[in-house]
């Protein structure tokens, strides 16, 4: 087994990991990036649609184009593709990886965990029925179509109106698949408004809100699903069932942060992702985190921003330049907040919070903590995350609090 010594090890070669590695190298850290896939880019590689980069590069790029920009920024980074992480030592920044040249032990000064997220499988929903061929999580269908050039079926239904589901509805339609609709259990779409318009409305694909799949049919290949309307609590309503014949079900019912490789690092109970402070540092001081392993983000641009911050701070930690943080103050999801990153803030330092509202609101007030700072926001939608920037003075005032709750309330 070879041994390799670096300042910063970045795990994951998607947007977060590449931005982290580039930032770490930029401040002079010897940096190695390990990516399990054959190419850098992570999920960007299969996202051949446009819509990326409007914030970071001020132009509209496809996923592979956005990835190529980040690859071009990897000056001074040793990027190893086809290299899988096996284990991280819980006691010090040391990891074991494997690739077609064998096992490698990497000793580092800091580790950035940027392993992204996986899709929640249909089985997690405990939908009754059979388990035939023709059930695909959306990302798998996307890889089949965009990477392998294969058509998953002829007549499809999409379960879940998150962005991946919407994108795949359009993609399959463009490849000649009859897409009978997108089904969403909530009363509002899960994905960005622009995706509802550009992926469904523009192609006449129906969106069925407050519906879900209650049974899967077919023994060899899928023959159809039973749909039903749901009530406000998401419970199927008896008498509303109807059979929809399809040979393909695209499942897009959420992302789960991929954190199993660092079992010793505390999780945020609300997101299931790694618990990190506004420094993107976990409770294990040498372990930093960025991207969808914290919580699923809406925009890759934001992921890259978080990644760069994690990379910079990891490099400073590796060189002993990062002062020990004062006791971080936990940040909790309050009223009408469905997701929130990071999990705690460092008093006396600038902080960026990203949150997702539970219900849409035309005008809203975001409140951070009791009597804390407020921000206003317009056109709040669950699909689009709200960025809240706090000044060092504002966070310093929170130093003595046990926790800070963030709320989104309606403004009239």
């Amino acid at each position: 087994m070879r041994t390799h010594r670096v300042d910063v090890l970045v795990v994951g070669g998607g947007a977060a990991g590449m931005a982290a590695a580039a930032a770490a190298a930029r401040v002079g850290a010897r940096t190695v990036l390990v990516e399990e896939g054959a190419r850098l880019g992570g999920v960007l590689d299969q996202c051949i649609h446009p819509g990326f980069g409007l914030h970071r590069y001020r132009e509209e790029l496809t996923g592979p184009e956005f990835a190529a920009r980040l690859v071009a920024e990897l000056d001074g980074v040793e990027a190893w593709t086809g290299q899988s992480l096996l284990a991280v030592d819980p006691n010090r920044p040391r990891a074991r990886t494997v690739g077609s040249e064998g096992l490698v032990e990497i000793e580092a000064g800091a580790v950035v965990w940027a392993a992204g997220a996986r899709e929640r499988p249909l089985g997690a929903l405990r939908v009754p029925g059979t388990r035939p061929a023709g059930l695909f999580v959306a990302g798998l269908a996307q890889r089949l179509v965009n990477i392998h050039g294969l058509l998953p079926g002829r007549r499809a239904l999409v379960l879940g109106s998150g962005d991946i589901g919407l994108i795949m509805a359009r993609r399959l339609h463009l490849e000649g698949v009859e897409v009978v609709g997108v089904v969403e259990i909530r009363p509002h779409p899960g994905g960005l408004l622009r995706n509802v318009v550009q992926c469904l409305d523009d192609f006449g694909i129906p969106l069925l809100l407050s519906h879900t799949v209650v049974e899967v049919h077919g023994r060899g290949r899928l023959t159809g699903v039973t749909l039903a309307e749901v009530d406000g609590a998401g419970a199927p309503q008896p008498g509303t069932e109807r059979f929809v014949p399809v040979d393909t079900l695209i499942v897009s019912v959420g992302l789960v942060p991929e954190v199993e490789g660092v079992p010793f690092a505390p999780r945020d109970p609300a997101t299931g992702g790694l618990a990190a402070s506004t420094r993107l540092q976990t409770a294990v001081p040498w372990l930093f985190a960025a991207g969808n392993c914290l919580a699923p983000f809406d925009l890759v641009d934001t992921v890259a921003t978080f990644g760069a911050r994690a990379g910079t701070l990891a490099a400073r930690h590796a060189r002993g330049e990062l002062s020990p943080a004062p006791r971080p103050v936990p940040v909790r999801m309050g009223r009408n907040v469905a997701a929130l990153v990071p999990s705690s803030l460092v008093p006396g330092e600038e902080a960026i919070l990203y949150l997702r509202a539970r219900e849409p609101l035309d005008r809203a007030r975001v409140t951070v903590g009791p009597d804390g700072p407020t921000r206003t926001a317009r056109g709040v939608r669950p699909a689009e995350m709200i960025e809240v920037r706090l000044t060092a003075e504002e966070t310093a005032a929170m130093a003595c609090l046990q926790e800070v709750a963030v709320e989104v309330t309606a403004l009239r």
Binding site: M1, E36, G82, S84, L86, R96, V98, G99, S100, E101, G102, L103, R118, E119, P121, L122, G123, A124, R126, V127, P128, G129, T130, R131, P132, A133, G134, V137, G139, L140, R143, L144, V145, I147, H148, G149, L150, L151, P152, G153, R154, E175, G176, V214, V216, R219, G220, R221, D247, V256, E260, G272
Partner: protein
Amino acid sequence: MRTAVIGAGVVGALLARELCRYEGEVLLFERELDVGWGVTKANSAIVHAGFHERPGTASARFCVEGNALFPEVCGELAVPFQRIGAYVLALADGERAALEGLRARGEELGVPGLELVAGDEVRRRLPDVNPAVVAALWAPSVGITEPWALALAAVENACANGASLHVGEEVTGICLRAGRVRGVRTDRAAYDVDAVVNAAGLDADRVAALAGVPVPGLVPRRGEYLLLVDVPPSLRSAVLFPVPTPHSKGVLVVPTVDGGLLLGPTAADLAPEERDATETTTDGLAQALAGARRLVPGLPLGKVVKAFAGLRPEPRDGEFWLGETNVRGFYQAAGMRSPGLTAAPAIARWLAGGIAADLGLAPRASFRPLRPAPPRVAELPPEEWDALIARDPCYGRIVCRCNRVTEGEVVAAIRRGARTVDGVKFRTRAGFGRCQGGTCTDRILALLAREANAAPDEISLRGPGSALVVGRVR
């Protein structure tokens, strides 16, 4: 002399292997495209101790004998077997007497190590169980295994000892002359044989009918399960049973050999013709969940990744159908209700011996009981893994992240007979993990197509009619 075994589930597979200890030819027929795809692939995967069985029955005898054989058989075949023990939990004072009854019965049968444990001690050993527990029966000989892996390994070892496997070939007739078996017909060919063993699982009554042997009939009993992955070790220390009812062992909490947890099974008797009704139901899944939560209230349901159902054959007379019949040369190892998996190694050994005696077969001196295990990198020490990669770099390319399966292992599985995505999954565990194949299915599809030199739309999930893709994009 030639023996045909009908059905390559765990029973038929182990029987074929045991028959290879004797001279003569062994043919193993399986209607499905792969080994172990019937009852074998969807059950609780428990090696029972025997205390649930009524003394004097074949179930009791072969359960206790089978349990004792498992370390040897799984050792020889390189199949996972973990003797983690089990607790039967009494959750009310009224259930204490049942524990006493099970212990007395188990002791009569020679089940080793049974021990009644007081409620406080149970809570200390199992911090997650229902705090209402008043006592438990500890049975250290209970184990867990992978039934499909056992069937696959037994078939491989049988074939290495000269047996021939006929998958995707259905037996459609049994030829009798002068009251004894002379041959079998399949949907492909006819074979002269001297003996036939009915190990056809849910179809055993139909196979018996082909020979004109009267049997009491089979009821498909559906058991629904939920599978959790990556559960904390504290939840995986032992199998948990409730106090049994007269007709079922109840809903259990069962650790799997690869770090997961099974909740189930339910027990719903179906109509005799519903032999492929492996769908799950709203009620069944709710029952499985409620039953499991009764034992462990705080199960981490966010770790559920799959719901599935299996059918087990319930013989109408409640007992295994074993041994010779009124047709000479026609034997049965059927009606294999629970504890059929546990009993299988003992039944196979006993029945193979009987057939050999009837046919006058001498022991085969060249029989080799050991099956070389395919490499499983997740279990190798680093230096051995490195050496393997040096020989073949495919063993350094991880295909399934969740269960750490490499391209080399997938290719080896294909070369050992996997023709479908499920075939790869049951041989390597790729696709069994937390992402349920969402990350690796396309890569496995590509490897299957490459190795078979086939188009991707010829590759299926589990045989004809289950293609994964329909063609290329335009």
